[in-house]
């Protein structure tokens, strides 16, 4: 009995001290912020709630206990009003239902008066050997039902905004929900579990004291900008809960000295390993965060670097094209060719920068995927027109064979698919010196197929096998052209695979031309539509 009182007092003192510290920590972090002020009020009410309950429990006279318990009941109601406002403002304000807010305030004020000044909720006090116990009155249900409704309303408010919050804000809500969960769990263990096991409510105050978890989590979520991942918190919680249970077991349920000593040693060993466990989880998360930071910095660097590289290339491309178009006066015939050469060289550099940018994003394991409904026929037709001039300069024909029936629109990432088809037709022109290129579109079952055939150099089987790998070029590539870095088809394969599609090449052999196929499903897999960011970690690892 004395031991329970002592533990009770220690827990009470810790609760008050930590509670007050948290209240002022949050308030002083940003006194002008409404959320911080509301948390301050919530915490002070919580501390008062625990203090009044404890004073009621340890009073010497029933009359005195009744006053404390009634004050406790009243403060609980005030606490729920404050918690309701907290759910509106945390982590950022949502549009409140003003009528509902007024209703909550009026009803709870009424409930406060009833619980403090009438016998409806607390009708009397029973003296037990371990302390004073409440005898509930007839209005018990009228007290608990609004409290339960208010609790549900608070959780609903938090959940409702959860889905429109940013990742960091969601983590804050997770912290608060975790605090509520621990508080509820501890109450369940001490109020329901122990009552059932021992047949007495003498340990219920330990449930009240666990409110410090709720306050701690919430305060941390409000004040700190960067929060630990929920895994660390869960690990720490588990270790903490087991430690509390072990401690209770030693002091409350064990009477023999030698057994207490043995359990004490186990407790110390547990604490040491628990500490190691939390430390290792923390270290693991810190490492991951560092890697994420480096990845982000790398990605930003690539974006900025490619921007800086592209700017002069844009000026060269723009001015040369305008000179060739005659914007700055008629050109002499012999000036045209050198300028066209400059233009083409510049285009090669632009393509290289684009490929390197794509590659770096694939390497980072993340690349944006933004599908939209488009007409493949229109896209291919535009691309052919764009590239026709290059084919004609080499004396090659370029024709498009459309499907008899118009093809249905298809969900694709337009920019990426455009890049892939452009790359393949451009290669076909590059590696063909006689004849031409035929682009055929057709529907095969649930898929649309783009077939690009040329009458060019052709490839051996071995060359085809390594064609879609990085830095790979068929020998025709090394013999006829030296400009390609061998990145284009690798990137093309990644992009088509992002769509859940297929890309491959066929060739009857050297000097017999090549055919490239792309097949895309008309109805994109809904799983691919769900996420805007496609992670290709596996292929990123394959690269280096």
């Amino acid at each position: 009995m004395e031991q329970i009182l002592l533990i009770n007092q220690i827990f009470l003192f810790l609760n008050v001290a930590v509670g007050c510290f948290l209240a002022f920590w949050v308030l002083l972090a940003n006194p002008r912020e409404k959320l911080n002020r509301i948390f301050f009020i919530v915490t002070i009410l919580m501390v008062l709630m625990v203090v009044f309950a404890s004073l009621g429990f340890s009073s010497n006279e029933p009359q005195q206990a009744s006053i404390w318990y009634r004050l406790n009941g009243g403060v609980v109601v005030l606490f729920f009003i404050a918690a309701y406002f907290f759910s509106i403002y945390f982590p950022k304000k949502i549009a409140e239902n003003r009528l509902l807010t007024k209703l909550v305030v009026i009803l709870c004020s009424l409930l406060f008066l009833i619980s403090v000044f009438s016998n409806l909720i607390i009708s009397g006090i029973a003296e037990k050997e371990w302390g004073m116990e409440i005898i509930f009155g007839k209005g018990k249900l009228f007290y608990y039902i609004p409290i339960i409704i208010l609790t549900l309303l608070i959780i609903y408010n938090l959940f409702k905004k959860y889905f429109v919050l940013t990742k960091e804000e969601r983590l804050k809500v997770q912290y608060v929900l975790m605090g509520i969960f621990v508080f509820a769990l501890a109450n369940f263990i001490f109020n329901v579990g122990f009552t059932f096991l021992i047949g007495s409510v003498q340990f219920q105050h330990f449930g009240d004291y666990s409110v410090i978890f709720f306050l701690g989590f919430t305060a941390y979520a409000i004040v700190k900008r960067e929060l630990f991942g929920i895994k660390v918190v869960l690990t720490a919680l588990l270790v903490g809960l087991i430690a509390i249970l072990l401690l209770l077991d030693i002091f409350v349920f064990t009477s023999q000295g030698w057994l207490q000593g043995l359990k004490g040693v186990i407790f110390v060993i547990f604490l040491y390993f628990g500490y190691l466990l939390i430390k290792s989880v923390l270290l693991e998360i810190q490492r991951r965060q560092e890697i994420e930071k480096i990845d982000k910095a790398k990605s930003e660097f690539i974006s900025i670097a490619s921007h800086q590289l592209r700017t002069p290339l844009t000026a060269v491309k723009g001015y040369i094209s305008m000179i060739l178009e005659g914007t700055y006066g008629q050109l002499a015939e012999k000036q045209v060719r050198p300028l066209e050469n400059v233009y083409q060289s510049n285009e090669r550099l632009i393509k290289l920068v684009n490929d390197l940018l794509n590659l770096s994003r694939l390497d980072a394991g993340k690349i944006e995927f933004s599908p939209e409904l488009i007409s493949l026929e229109e896209m291919v037709s535009d691309l052919i027109e764009e590239l026709r001039i290059n084919a004609e300069k080499k004396g090659l024909y370029m024709k498009m064979v459309k499907s008899l029936k118009p093809l249905p629109k298809i969900m694709v990432d337009q920019d990426k698919l455009r890049q892939v088809i452009l790359n393949i037709i451009d290669n076909a022109i590059k590696y063909t010196n006689k004849g031409g290129i035929t682009i055929e579109l057709k529907k095969i079952d649930g898929e649309e197929e783009i077939k690009v055939s040329d009458t060019g150099e052709g490839m051996t089987k071995k060359e085809i096998e390594s064609l879609f790998q990085m830095f790979s070029r068929a020998t025709a590539g090394t013999q006829l052209h030296t400009e390609g870095a061998g990145l284009g088809l690798y990137v093309a394969r990644q992009f088509i695979e992002m769509h859940g599609g297929k890309i491959w090449a066929e060739s009857p052999g050297k000097s017999k031309g090549s055919t490239f196929y792309i097949q895309l499903s008309i109805h994109l897999d809904p799983e691919l539509l769900k996420t805007k960011t496609k992670t290709i970690t596996k292929t990123a690892n394959d690269i280096f």
């Binding site: 974006s303 900025i304 921007h307 700017t311 000026a315 491309k317 723009g318 305008m322 914007t327 684009n354």
Partner: protein
């Protein structure tokens, strides 16, 4: 005559696009800064704005946010034309209602003019 406002900090590029748009029969005003661009948009009421993203001081996203919050000019169509190919920025710009987010190096001035004419139809 349709009016175009170019917000572009690279002087060489701004001049180049201005030349091409004038040649294509547009009335062009140009500026290097976002704030100045907003002032010009209010004054000139262009039919379309061609906007770069990386600008000195306030960037293109700032420009778009301010533009959308100002009822007087919020309905002016904007085409982002930048070499800053950042997915996050692109998403933000599209959310702020831009017609398109084009990468400069992928288009000649002639192609850009054709695209802009298309948006103004």
């Amino acid at each position: 005559m349709k009016k175009i406002l170019i917000v572009e900090d690279e002087k060489i590029l701004a001049e180049m696009y201005r030349d091409k748009f004038i040649e294509a029969g547009f009335e062009v005003s140009a500026t290097f800064e976002a704030k100045e661009g907003l002032k010009l948009a209010k004054k000139e009421k262009p039919d379309l704005i061609v906007l770069d993203i990386l600008l000195p001081r306030e960037n293109g996203v700032y420009f778009l946010t301010e533009l959308r919050n100002d009822l007087e000019i919020s309905s002016i169509p904007v085409v982002v034309f930048s070499n800053f190919d950042d997915p996050e920025t692109k998403r933000t710009a599209l959310r702020l209602g831009v017609k398109d987010y084009l990468i400069k190096t992928n288009y000649t001035p002639k192609e850009i003019v054709a695209k802009i004419k298309n948006y103004l139809k």
